[in-house]
């Protein structure tokens, strides 16, 4: 659905995007994660055929972004960073206006607009001026606009920026509803929780480059090591570390608390419990220690920063 090869973008002498390559298949949600100014929006604008790449190539929904920009734009839905709605129009008229620009027949446009308004809970507000909509409603309206022609590719740029938690939740739920086997979605965000909840794969962008790419599990394993487990015993036991040696990598022993890593928890954890019980060290609880995407992100960004510092020096 989306194939980008070595995309570069210069604005004068400012190198905004430096060799971004990515692939998003149908049915997949890719999150572009990165700080403000990392090049996420510029990448999305190039893939949406609004900006032309200075170098490199990209095909979106089967069309080349440079050779067939109008076809690309006809086959994508773009949710911009700000909803960007016309406040003096009512919801239905707004959607019908965009349906016309998308060359949809009037009947189809109206039917689709009505269907989406109902689906996203805005049907009752369709005759109201957009000016009176809440932030969440506005964002949903922008999502409907992006979805109006049922595009096979969706670009969602910072969909929950500056929203209160409830509105953000509403929008996230709405995005979840857009998942389909035939649709590729690219989600630009610096909200890690959002990426964790919505994305199948994550690409971390920094200084216009993709510095890491993979599924959440892959990235965690790659950057944070094997999953971390925490074990609480009834009382502190001596020689616990030696007892488990060769079975797991012990990270921490603190009295009755033990932390270890293992890539094969299903096989190893029962063995550990058995060994400890046999050694007279009954276990109260065994649980996995959550490893956040934030830790992954910070690790990547710090590494990129460290790499850049000597170059700058």
């Amino acid at each position: 659905m989306i194939e980008a090869m070595d995309l570069h973008k210069f604005f004068g002498d400012f190198h905004a995007v430096r060799g971004v390559s990515l692939h998003v298949a149908a049915g997949e949600v890719l999150a572009l994660l990165g700080p403000n100014g990392a090049g996420k929006t510029t990448t999305v604008r190039m893939l949406s055929a609004i900006l032309q790449p200075s170098r490199g190539s990209a095909r979106v929904a089967g069309f080349d972004v440079v050779a067939d920009p109008q076809q690309v734009r006809a086959h994508i839905g773009l949710l911009t960073e700000y909803p960007g709605l016309y406040p003096r129009m009512n919801g239905l008229d707004y959607l019908l206006f965009f349906a016309k620009l998308l060359h949809m027949p009037l009947v189809d446009g109206r039917r689709r607009a009505e269907q989406l308004l109902k689906q996203f809970g805005l049907w009752e507000a369709r005759e109201r001026k957009i000016d009176g909509y809440s932030k969440g409603m506005k964002q949903k309206m922008a999502l409907i606009r992006a979805m109006l022609h049922d595009p096979p590719v969706l670009f969602l740029d910072e969909p929950t920026t500056a929203m209160d938690p409830q509105s953000a939740r509403t929008v996230r739920d709405a995005i979840n509803e857009l998942r389909s086997a035939s649709r590729a979605i690219v989600l630009c965000t610096h909200n890690l929780a959002e990426a964790e909840v919505l994305a199948d794969r994550i690409a971390v962008v920094r200084d216009g480059q993709i510095v890491a790419q993979g599924s959440e599990v892959q990235l965690k394993a790659e950057l944070l090591g094997d999953p971390l487990w925490e074990l609480h015993m009834v009382e502190a036991g001596t020689g616990v570390a030696q007892l488990l040696a060769g079975l797991v990598t012990v990270e921490q022993v603190d009295g009755a608390l033990l932390r270890y890593r293992t890539p094969q928890a299903e096989a190893v954890n029962p063995l550990i419990l058995e060994r400890l019980c046999s050694a007279g060290l009954p276990v109260i609880a065994l649980s996995s220690v959550p490893q956040s995407l934030e830790a992954v992100y910070l690790r990547i960004v710090d590494a990129a920063e460290a790499e850049r510092m000597p170059q700058a020096a």
């Binding site: 210069f10 604005f11 400012f14 960007g84 016309y86 129009m89 206006f97 965009f98 016309k100 060359h103």
Partner: protein
């Protein structure tokens, strides 16, 4: 290009305008209240004056004024057509639609033009109807149907010029504030034009008014063409990253100056340093070849001007030029002072008309050699009538120095035309600003390294050789 997208964009914009009472209220006042007040003032004036002839001339001016005021106010809408949407973050969703740049631009332009046109026509009609109902029949005689049509056409053309200019400003600025500041570049010339037109209306000079109408139509067409060629999504979004910087402008200009590459090659790709040898050997021939189109236009215009000048002799008398021609055969004594005068005059004119070319679309630069050729044509006609042959005039006064001076003036004109055209057509890879800078840098380089030396040599020949040949040819 499909009309449905253009109509959709235009309709939405117009609907947006008419539903905004902050815009509509002043427009309605200017459309209906101002004509009423103006009509009342005229009636009041009539009651004091016994002589109606002055008032007769004021009525067409009233029509002009009534039409101009709402048109100038509607500039606000045109000015924010792009930059306003950008500030309100609504532009990107429009840019992401499957419509071409031209469709989007035309939709915006039509919406921006329709509002001032409608309000202007309504205001002019209101004023005319009020005058027709209230003024004595003798006064109404001053407003002939032809004059009314001319006034309406003048206002319409000015509205299109202002709006087309405003839409260009709007699509090339990053804030509404900057666009409003630049609006004075549109409003001041147009307001001055209304004052000139007022004088012409009062003087009853309809012929000149018709010429102004023609000129405004040409400018309106050029501005629409310029806007369409310069507008593109890429530039609008890229401008977010490029703030206005004199340093950057200077840097680009220097790069364009130090080497010659065809238009469209961005300054980042100018890696070579300046080389005089390379300029004369390689770059100048390429530049002249690339400028073949404006050179051809200038050459064609020059030939036409020669014939026009020739045809003028006998039908019209140009007294100052006749006085100069009477001096033929009695040249001034050669001096370095005369060389300086001739050289400075040509250089100064060439520089002035080319530097103002971005504002005049290169028209003045284009006219410079044409005036010279027309003078030659006129002189040839004069010579034929007075001396039975044009050869002494041509050989003694034209050929020696004009062999250099006329081609130099033609090259200068071609460079000026290219500067003017930089606003009308932007090659791929360039922004409109880069295109103007590129053309200006080429002009400056050629002016310094080619035109000035040639003007100097021509001035030397004009002062030291031409008079000797003239004396020889005329035998005095």
């Amino acid at each position: 290009m499909t009309s449905s997208s253009i109509i959709a964009v235009a309709r939405r914009e117009m609907r947006d305008t008419v539903t905004d009472w902050r815009l509509m209220l002043p427009v309605l006042i200017l459309t209906f209240v101002v004509p009423l007040l103006l009509q009342t003032a005229l009636m009041f004036l009539l009651s004091y004056l016994n002589e109606n002839s002055t008032i007769i001339h004021l009525i067409p001016f009233g029509v002009l004024l009534c039409g101009f005021l709402p048109a100038s106010f509607s500039l606000i809408g045109a000015l924010e057509s792009f930059v306003g949407e950008k500030e309100r973050n609504t532009l990107e969703s429009l840019l992401a639609m499957p419509m071409s740049d031209h469709e989007l631009y035309l939709g915006k332009l039509i919406a921006a033009v329709m509002s001032p046109m409608l309000s202007s026509v309504l205001a002019m009609l209101t004023f005319t109807v009020l005058i027709m109902f209230n003024a004595p029949a003798k006064v109404i005689q001053g407003l002939t149907p032809w004059l009314m049509v001319e006034m309406v056409a003048l206002v319409m053309c000015k509205a299109v010029v202002m709006v087309a200019g405003a839409v260009i400003v709007s699509s090339h600025t990053t804030t509404t504030r900057a666009a409003n500041l630049l609006a004075s570049l549109i409003l001041v010339p147009m307001a001055s034009m209304v004052q000139i037109e007022a004088l012409l209306v009062i003087a009853g000079n309809q012929r000149t008014l018709a010429c102004i109408l023609l000129g405004l139509t040409v400018v309106a067409c050029m501005l629409i063409r310029a806007g369409m060629s310069a507008f593109n999504r890429e530039d609008i979004l890229s401008r977010e990253h490029a703030g206005f910087s004199f340093r950057k402008i200077g840097w680009s200009f220097k790069r364009f100056f130090r080497a010659y590459h065809p238009a469209g090659v961005t300054p980042e790709h100018y890696t070579e340093s300046f080389s005089l040898g390379r300029f004369y050997r390689r770059e100048l021939p390429v530049l002249l070849w690339d400028y073949r189109q404006p050179l051809f236009v200038v050459a064609a215009g020059s030939v036409a001007a020669l014939f026009v000048g020739f045809s003028l002799w006998g039908t019209r008398t140009i007294h100052p030029f006749d006085a100069i021609l009477l001096q033929v055969g009695h040249p001034d004594a050669p001096s370095w002072q005369a060389v300086r005068q001739a050289f400075m005059g040509d250089s100064y004119v060439s520089m002035l008309v080319n530097l103002t070319a971005p504002f005049s679309f290169g028209v003045f630069a284009y006219l410079t050699p044409l005036v010279s050729f027309a003078q030659i044509g006129y002189g040839v006609g004069w010579s034929l009538v007075h001396h039975g042959s044009f050869w002494p005039f041509v050989l003694g006064y034209i050929v020696p120095h004009s062999m250099l001076k006329l081609p130099t003036l033609m090259l200068s004109a071609a460079l000026g035309l290219r500067i003017g055209a930089a606003l009308l057509y932007t090659p791929k890879g360039f922004s409109i600003g880069q295109n103007v800078l590129w053309a200006l840098a080429n002009f400056l380089k050629v002016w310094l390294l080619v035109l000035l030396p040639l003007f100097f040599v021509a001035a030397m020949i004009q002062v030291f050789i031409t008079p000797q040949l003239a004396l020889f040819a005329w035998g005095t």
